[in-house]
């Protein structure tokens, strides 16, 4: 019976999606009324939540994220893991943040408040209250819907990690009781960790946001209403379907800019909303252009941007702890009033955070368990977009003659790193924040770029489009990406992914030896006879005779990862020879007997393997470039001389 009901009900959900134009299966529906009280830095909320049991089993317990409790005291899992700092910003112990559930009940039904209990599924930390469960009086059957009514108060912390206030700037994210994801037959409802972001089900959101009249508001979704209230406040109504979170911001010092964005191929029509703090108006056009670039790049390369709005929030000075964060159809960027044009931080953050709208927002990756599916794929996309619009060598930095591309900046994080963690790992299991960051962002991006150069740009483009199309508005896992890559490329790629995704090792191939030795005339005992070019005529003949060299190239594998290699060898007469090696052994020797000396040898000459942690040893020349060394050493000597003269002045 059950088996018959499930496909039927699932079919109803899908039919609903098709009939009403929904892009996703609406597992949840939120209707929230929220009032911001700036004086107490808090939000009074009333939430009506409908949840459909999209599993095959009856559910008698519901689990909720209460993320704001991560900032409640110094013993929460978030604070313990982070030490109370995030991206260099410190918690203000005079301004803790928390969420209180005043009442939770089944709509027109039982009061569940008494059944509330905090649980700690990840680390059993009894002081962590970021996950709550309630016990239902009766189980929710498969495909049955339950509606809950929740009253809550959220006290915002002084912002240091994504959400909170600074002065009169409010960034309100992870602020309401949000139901977990019933996934693969169990609740996937993790605690708020220092090095993790989020995971939730798709649905429809409607929010009525009441703020003091002078506040400018930005929020997920489209604004459908705006009412002035008698008490000097204003209520804004925002609605959005096919998203899995809702965030908003309010500040009287925002300046709002709206711009229609259209693209013909593929067809995109959306409204860009920029909320720029008064102090940063100089950056407005930089933000706007970067956002246009992002919309074009992601729409063309992955799929058309599907929502009617996209809101960029520029955090107030001092509130940068809220910067660089993504929410559905809304993201925070970041700049300063003195940001030089050549430092592309506002552009990079804008493109990166907008891009999350695709790999976290539209493709609903589980950032707790496989963060690379969002952060890594998005960093890869960011490198490509930044390079396209701002130049390969100048996409991050182009100031006073110092230039750096985004790819180099990603490599910088990886090449000097330790070998503690792989790319795929639960976010809270990494040895440190930097290990999490370099693996799920930079190393994963380099993996994607290596894969692209390995398979070819065209194949990679098809992989990305297929992956996006197949998994948009769904929850993929790593195996799903691998499956798409293998299917589209027509290649077995297990050897690639098993090394790069699951092993903490490194890729490092080198030319470990390069030499050219002259092959001399016979001298010694050959077949029992002593041969000795004694007479002067023989010596003269040998001098006239063209010389022959034994040219030796040794390629070595210094890292653990095994990749097939191409080696380019250049000889004195300009001849170029390409050799291949399966890269399995620790080293391989290539010998060439030629009338000219070898000049240079280079492994991976096209730099396909951007994961290689040392480019310097990839190539070797027979005659060392002493001039470069001397120039660099003299430069440093002069720098020291300058310091000495300052010491003595």
């Amino acid at each position: 019976m059950k088996k018959a009901v499930i496909p039927f009900a699932a079919g109803i959900l899908l039919l609903n999606a098709f009939l009403f134009g929904a892009l996703s299966r609406h597992v949840v529906s939120y209707d929230i009324k929220a009032r911001l009280v700036p004086e107490t830095k808090s939000v009074e909320g009333h939430e009506v939540l409908s949840w459909t049991n999209d599993s095959e089993a009856a559910v008698s317990e519901l689990q909720f994220h209460l993320y704001m409790n991560a900032f409640k005291n110094n013993r929460t899992t978030f604070i313990k893991e982070s030490g109370g700092t995030s991206r260099g910003y410190k918690i203000d112990k005079k301004n803790w943040g928390y969420i209180n559930i005043n009442k939770i009940a089944v709509q027109e039904g039982a009061d569940l408040t008494g059944t509330m209990a905090y649980i700690q599924p990840d680390d059993q930390n009894p002081d962590d209250q970021t996950v709550m469960k309630v016990t239902l009086p009766a189980p929710v059957e498969p495909q049955q819907k339950i509606t809950l009514v929740i009253d809550f108060t959220t006290k915002l912390p002084k912002v240091f990690a994504r959400s909170g206030f600074f002065g009169n700037f409010f960034m309100i994210g992870q602020w309401f009781p949000k139901i977990g994801v019933l996934w693969n037959g169990d609740w996937n409802c993790h605690q708020y960790h220092a090095y993790s972001e989020f995971f939730a089900d798709y649905g429809a959101y409607r929010a009525e946001l009441t703020v003091p009249e002078n506040f400018i508001v930005g929020a997920t979704g489209k604004r459908t209403g705006e009412t002035k209230n008698a008490d000097g406040t204003k209520t804004y109504v925002h609605v959005q379907e096919d998203v899995h979170d809702f965030a908003w911001t309010a500040c009287p010092e925002f300046v709002e800019f709206r711009e229609k964005y259209t693209l013909d191929n593929p067809r995109v029509e959306t409204e860009m909303i920029l909320l720029v703090h008064r102090s940063h108006l100089k950056s407005k056009e930089r933000y706007a252009q970067a956002l246009r670039n992002g919309l074009e790049f992601y729409s063309r390369n992955y799929g058309p941007y599907p929502y009617e709005t996209i809101t960029l929030v520029d955090p107030a000075p001092g509130g940068m702890g809220a910067g660089g964060m993504e929410y559905p159809t809304l993201f925070t960027a970041g700049t300063t009033s003195w940001m030089p044009l050549g430092i592309r931080m506002p552009e990079m953050v804008t493109i990166h955070e907008f891009g999350h709208g695709y790999w976290y927002g539209i493709v609903g990756s589980n950032e707790f368990e496989e963060a690379w599916l969002d952060e890594g794929i998005n960093s890869y996309s960011e490198v490509k977009a930044m390079n396209k619009y701002y130049g390969d060598d100048t996409s991050m930095l182009d100031i006073c003659g110092v230039r750096m591309g985004d790819l180099v900046s990603q490599r910088l994080r990886v090449i000097g790193s330790g070998r503690f963690d792989p790319i795929v790992k639960r976010s809270w299991d990494y040895i440190s924040g930097s290990s999490y960051s370099l693996n799920v962002y930079a190393k994963a991006a380099l993996m994607m770029l290596t894969l692209e150069r390995w398979l070819g740009e065209d194949v990679m483009s098809r992989i990305m489009k297929t992956y996006y199309e197949r998994w948009k508005f769904r929850h993929p896992a790593t195996k799903d990406f691998v499956q798409v890559a293998e299917e589209v490329s027509g290649q077995e790629l297990g050897w690639f992914f098993s090394q790069v995704l699951y092993s903490p090792d490194r890729l490092d191939y080198a030319i470990s030896d390069l030499r050219a030795e002259e092959i001399n005339e016979p001298d010694g005992i050959f077949e029992g006879k002593t041969v000795e070019p004694k007479d002067s005529q023989a010596k003269r003949d040998a001098a006239i005779k063209p010389k022959t060299y034994r040219n030796t190239v040794v390629v070595a594998r210094l890292g653990e990862w095994i990749f097939p290699q191409e080696i380019l060898i250049v000889f004195g007469d300009g001849q170029k020879v390409r050799e291949t090696w399966d890269g399995r052994d620790r080293w391989k020797r290539f010998v060439f007997t030629k009338p000219v000396k070898v000049v240079s040898a280079e492994v991976d000459p096209e730099h396909k393997l951007v994961l290689d942690v040392n480019y310097l040893n990839n190539s070797r020349i027979l005659e060392p470039q002493k001039l470069v060394v001397a120039r660099a050493a003299l430069g440093f000597m002069h720098w020291l001389q300058g310091l000495l003269s300052l010491v003595s002045l």
């Binding site: 010092e253 102090s279 009033s337 750096m404 020349i621 470039q625 300058g642 003269s645 010491v647």
Partner: protein
């Protein structure tokens, strides 16, 4: 005493002492040469045989730079430690050089026997100038306390402020204040040394207090003279940067040319050092 007269006198006196400039340059390069060999070995080991150096002749490849920095971390730590040690040793040597310069400037009649006068002066005042350096703690300590007090006040004013411009200007102000205090103390030390040398006194602490009194009694004049000479140094630096930027160093001859130019600039710092001492000496003695 007219500041411009002192300034011109300082420049003129420095110009008339090529041997002293040469000696100061030699002292500088002797210490820095140790670093050259260290750097050269490190660069040679990391870059020497790599094919990336061929491209680096034409342009700076950030890949190569970051790879050198990250893959040579331990070696770089050693080099930076060595550079710091060299600076510490050079600070001791510069106490000697200060004595030599001042003695030569005071004992004008012995200019023909430059070496003898210079080294005699260096030795003669070394102990006193060293003590002076130790006593200067009475200037550094209050300056540091004052700086941190101002820092704390400015920080409190901007702690919850969303006025980024104000925060930015305060940062600039803090840097300017720090530099001002450093230069002020260095200037007082100059006058303290001059007082010790001209009066040939062993009362080092009294001389330091006398220098403080002298500077604050003629605050505008001493500052103006100090910053005029400082600006002269900056002008020399700009000229060096301008000329140095006109050619790329991708040939042996241009690398050599760059080296010579850099050494001329370092020599100009020696010249500036003498100019400082001569101008301040003139201002202090009034003749």
């Amino acid at each position: 005493m007219n500041i411009m007269t002192c300034y011109a006198h300082g420049l003129r006196e420095a110009m008339r002492r090529p041997k002293m400039i040469m000696l100061l340059w030699l002292a500088n390069i002797a210490f820095a040469a140790a670093a050259y060999f260290g750097f050269s070995c490190a660069f040679g080991a990391a870059l020497g045989n790599s094919g990336m150096t061929v491209e680096m002749l034409a342009k700076t490849d950030m890949n190569a730079v970051i790879e050198f920095l990250t893959n040579s971390g331990g070696r770089l730590d050693d080099l930076i430690t060595m550079a710091l040690l060299v600076m510490v040793f050079y600070a001791f040597v510069s106490i000697f050089l200060n004595g030599g310069i001042l003695h030569s400037l005071i004992e004008q009649e012995d200019r023909k026997r430059f070496g003898q006068t210079f080294f005699a002066g260096g030795g003669r005042y070394y102990g006193r100038f060293f003590r002076l350096t130790v006593y200067s703690i009475i200037l550094w300590a209050p300056a540091l306390i004052g700086y941190f007090l101002v820092h704390a006040v400015l920080r409190a004013l901007t702690k919850n402020s969303t006025n980024e411009q104000l925060t930015f200007y305060f940062s600039i102000f803090r840097i300017a204040l720090a530099l001002f205090l450093i230069f002020l103390i260095k200037m007082i030390m100059d006058y303290a040394r001059i007082r010790i040398a001209t009066q040939d006194t062993n009362k080092v602490f009294v001389s330091l207090l006398g220098a403080v009194k002298f500077v604050f009694a003629r605050f505008g004049g001493t500052l103006l003279l100090y910053y005029l000479l400082g600006l002269t140094g900056w002008a020399a630096f700009l000229v060096f940067r301008l000329i140095n930027g006109t050619f790329s160093k991708n040939l042996t001859v241009t690398v050599l040319l760059g080296f010579v130019l850099a050494q001329l600039f370092i020599a100009s710092r020696g010249w500036l050092k003498i100019a400082y001492q001569a101008a301040e000496l003139r201002y202090f003695t009034g003749r």
